[in-house]
């Protein structure tokens, strides 16, 4: 027998022994495992460090319990959740995006946590949009965790060049500002710098105008949910937005299909003056283009009748399949502790769900974050119904806006058709 084959045989034996050892250790210790699923973040190392600290604290307080944390990529998460729920292998605790919470609640996959939340003592201080997203038929199916709202991020220096000292507070003033910022710099007769982008490829910018004009996107009737996008106020709101592209021409030609990814790119490369976006973008713009340092301002979205912004974020949920509900609840509660709320908010650049924590100096004294935090009370979320996911995923909102921007339909036609399509998904009949 050669030395080499002796060695390989030894390694096989060792491998088998190791395998048996690990298996028996697992069985012998009989540790209770809490399965936790969290969504991947833009800062994986920071997120891992955060959860290492949380899990250590949790395991210390619950001897014999081990937290098994998995990171779920956003892409394909929907399928992963659906298959694990139907397969009966859902985790005990998971982070769930606000717009997904009603889907799984309707499905019966989530545990009703209304009573547990009311017993917390701080239930009244949650960001309203998050509570709205976690509520189905008056019951809460998720513990609000963190929120992210949108404000206007603008080029302070460009506004100053035009002699504008303060960011506009009304939509009409806003239109005038975007017109002034739109310029033909190289003299070829076509503008190459734009005031704003209508982003026809994403709905979070144009849909809030319906709220801003004082009406709801959908209303609950005694025959179920009914779309309200064909109401005169909604039509007027959408027209205000589309006119930026069609009439005032302050938005790039290609912005019909742009999403925030495109408008971010344009803002970074200094061809766009104003975007509607999340707070974390302010830092990112300045990192990606150091020339932007000190030239960026943030302001609430100018009001039509009032201001509003789409507020997303995440809830923590427990699945009804879980056999460790009390343990799961302890874990969920731990994440809502002020120190963890603050650390997590700082890490992902979103806001704590508990508004009392927003008074912390790290937020209240920050020139960017304080503007966003002040506006969280105007944050809104889409109707918390299980059909809303279908409204978004079938892209009928985007299609309706693109039809207007491409002048395939008038605003009235497009909104009437959209209302029909939404009512079809809602199962609403006149």
């Amino acid at each position: 027998m050669t030395a080499k084959s002796k060695f390989s045989r030894l390694s096989v034996v060792l491998g088998v022994v190791l395998l048996i050892m690990t298996m028996t250790v697992g069985i012998a210790s009989g540790a209770t495992t809490l399965e936790v699923w969290m969504m991947e973040t833009g800062n994986p190392d920071g997120a891992k460090a955060f959860f290492n600290a949380v899990n250590t604290e949790f395991e210390a307080a619950h001897p014999g319990v081990k937290v098994n944390l998995s990171w779920i990529p956003w892409l394909g998460a929907q399928q992963k959740f659906l298959t694990s729920i139907t397969g009966g292998i859902a985790p005990d605790v998971a982070e769930l995006g606000t717009t997904w919470t009603p889907d799984y609640a309707y499905m019966g996959a989530l545990e009703d946590v209304t009573e547990r939340i009311n017993a917390l003592g701080y239930a009244s201080e949650f960001v309203p949009a998050l509570v709205e997203s976690a509520t189905l038929d008056g019951k809460l199916y998720g513990l609000p965790w963190y929120a992210g709202n949108r404000c206007m991020i603008y080029r302070k220096d460009w506004l100053e060049e035009e002699g504008i000292k303060e960011f506009p507070k009304t939509w009409n003033e806003f239109i005038e500002v975007t017109k002034k910022l739109t310029k033909d710099l190289d003299g070829d007769g076509k503008p190459d710098r734009f005031g704003f982008s209508v982003n026809g490829g994403s709905q979070h910018e144009f849909m809030p105008l319906i709220w801003m004009n004082g009406v709801e996107i959908a209303i609950q009737t005694d025959k179920g949910w009914k779309s309200n996008v064909d109401s005169p106020e909604a039509i007027e709101a959408i027209r205000l937005f589309a006119d930026l592209y069609l009439k005032h021409k302050v938005s790039p030609e290609g912005s019909v299909t742009w999403s925030v990814l495109n408008s971010r790119k344009a803002f970074t490369t200094e061809t766009l003056g104003i975007v509607i976006d999340l707070p974390l973008l302010v830092d990112r713009f300045q990192n990606d283009n150091p020339n932007l340092k000190g030239k960026i301002g943030v302001a609430p979205i100018p009001a039509v009748k009032q201001t509003a912004s789409f507020t997303g974020g995440s809830n923590v949920v427990m699945f009804s399949q879980s056999k460790k509900k009390d343990l799961a609840w302890d874990y969920m509660r731990l994440l809502l502790e002020p120190k963890h709320q603050l650390a997590w908010a700082d890490l992902v650049k979103f806001f704590p769900a508990r508004t009392s924590i927003l008074k912390d100096p790290s937020i209240a004294n920050d020139p960017v974050l304080s503007v966003y935090a002040d506006n969280l009370k105007y944050g809104r979320t889409y109707p918390a119904i299980h059909q809303w996911g279908q409204v978004e995923n079938t892209k009928i909102l985007i299609t309706a806006m693109q039809e207007i921007l491409l002048e395939k339909k008038t605003v009235e036609q497009s909104m009437t058709d959209l209302a029909k399509a939404m009512n079809l998904l809602f199962g609403y009949q006149e």
Partner: protein, 320 residues
């Protein structure tokens, strides 16, 4: 005695039957080891093609809304899903543009494939290098190349608009290729053709190599030129191969999904919502698996019909 005669008859009959009509069991007994070898492949095909296909057929007769399945077993609804789809204007629109898309892609793919194959069949220095480089678009994963092309077409930062504006076409300086219904449609066709031409070209090149030189030499003696040799010898002799390639391209292009999804997501304003994307949206957008399966079945049947027509044409020509 009578029994013996019967047995004789039986055996005689058996001896005269051709192997193909022999019972499957006997066949397996005889070539047991061979069937053992193909067993893994058969199991694989059964598990990943036949089982899902049958399941999809079953689901297409059910009201299968994913968010309802924890509460109740999806009920059978007969042909309701099919009726709903056939009365849906979006389906007819999607079908129409899918047919146009397929037609344009197949025609252009075959045209360029044939041109490149004939070019590569000529003797010129370095034709092997050219042949290999032609394959490059084919080996790039479709999603990756679609993202690449999306950048090429980008209205503000795309190299296409950069080149066009550099050569004097100033009006293309920020032309939104993927934001206009017509240009988005053709932009994707270009990408799909670009990516399917290599396979067709290489297959046709292999076919061209099998045509004996004597045939061409005889034609040359008769005074045939390049054009006549191509249209009267090469193409007719490649007819079977061309038909097969057309059938395959039709199937591939009819169910186009990835390139279209990455580049347009069915937009702008739903103008490039081909059946593949519409089916996906029904399944993962609306979570209506019953309707999505019915759509998939309709696509399946349509492709089968087209394939059957092609094959019939092919066989008729062979008997002529």
């Amino acid at each position: 005695m009578q029994k013996q005669v019967d047995r004789l008859h039986k055996n005689a009959g058996r001896a005269w039957t051709r192997p193909a009509s022999r019972s499957l069991l006997r066949e397996i007994k005889k070539n047991g080891i061979a069937y053992l070898f193909i067993l893994p492949a058969m199991v694989g095909i059964f598990a990943v093609i036949l089982v899902p296909l049958v399941q999809a057929i079953v689901i297409s007769f059910k009201r299968y809304y994913i968010l309802d399945i924890l509460r109740e077993d999806p009920p059978f609804v007969g042909l309701a899903n099919y009726a709903a789809i056939l009365s849906d204007p979006q389906f007819w629109y999607s079908l129409k543009i899918t047919i146009w898309f397929t037609f344009a892609c197949v025609a252009l793919t075959m045209l360029f494939g044939l041109l490149i194959a004939i070019l590569l069949d000529q003797d010129f220095p370095g034709n092997n290098i050219v042949a290999v480089s032609v394959l490059v678009p084919w080996v790039i994963p479709r999603v990756a190349s679609s993202i690449l092309w999306k950048w090429i077409y980008d209205d503000q930062f795309g190299i296409l608009n950069y080149i066009l504006s550099k050569i004097g076409l100033k009006s293309f300086a920020s032309f939104p290729w993927l934001a206009r219904a017509g240009s988005a449609f053709w932009a994707v066709i270009i990408v799909v053709v670009w990516q399917s031409v290599p396979f067709v070209a290489v297959s046709l090149l292999a076919g061209l190599k099998t045509i004996p030189n004597e045939v061409y030499e005889a034609a040359e003696i008769d005074g045939a030129g390049f054009w006549q040799k191509t249209t009267l010898i090469s193409i007719p002799m490649l007819r079977n191969l061309i038909t097969i390639l057309i059938v395959m391209s039709t199937i591939w292009d009819f169910k186009v999904f990835d390139q279209m999804f990455v580049m347009t997501e069915g937009g702008p304003a739903g103008s490039t919502m081909v059946l593949g994307i519409y089916t996906w949206m029904m399944a993962f957008g609306r979570l209506q698996m019953g309707l999505a399966s019915a759509l998939a079945m309709i696509m399946f049947v349509l492709v089968m019909i087209v394939t059957a027509i092609y094959l019939k044409l092919l066989m008729r020509e062979e008997t002529l």
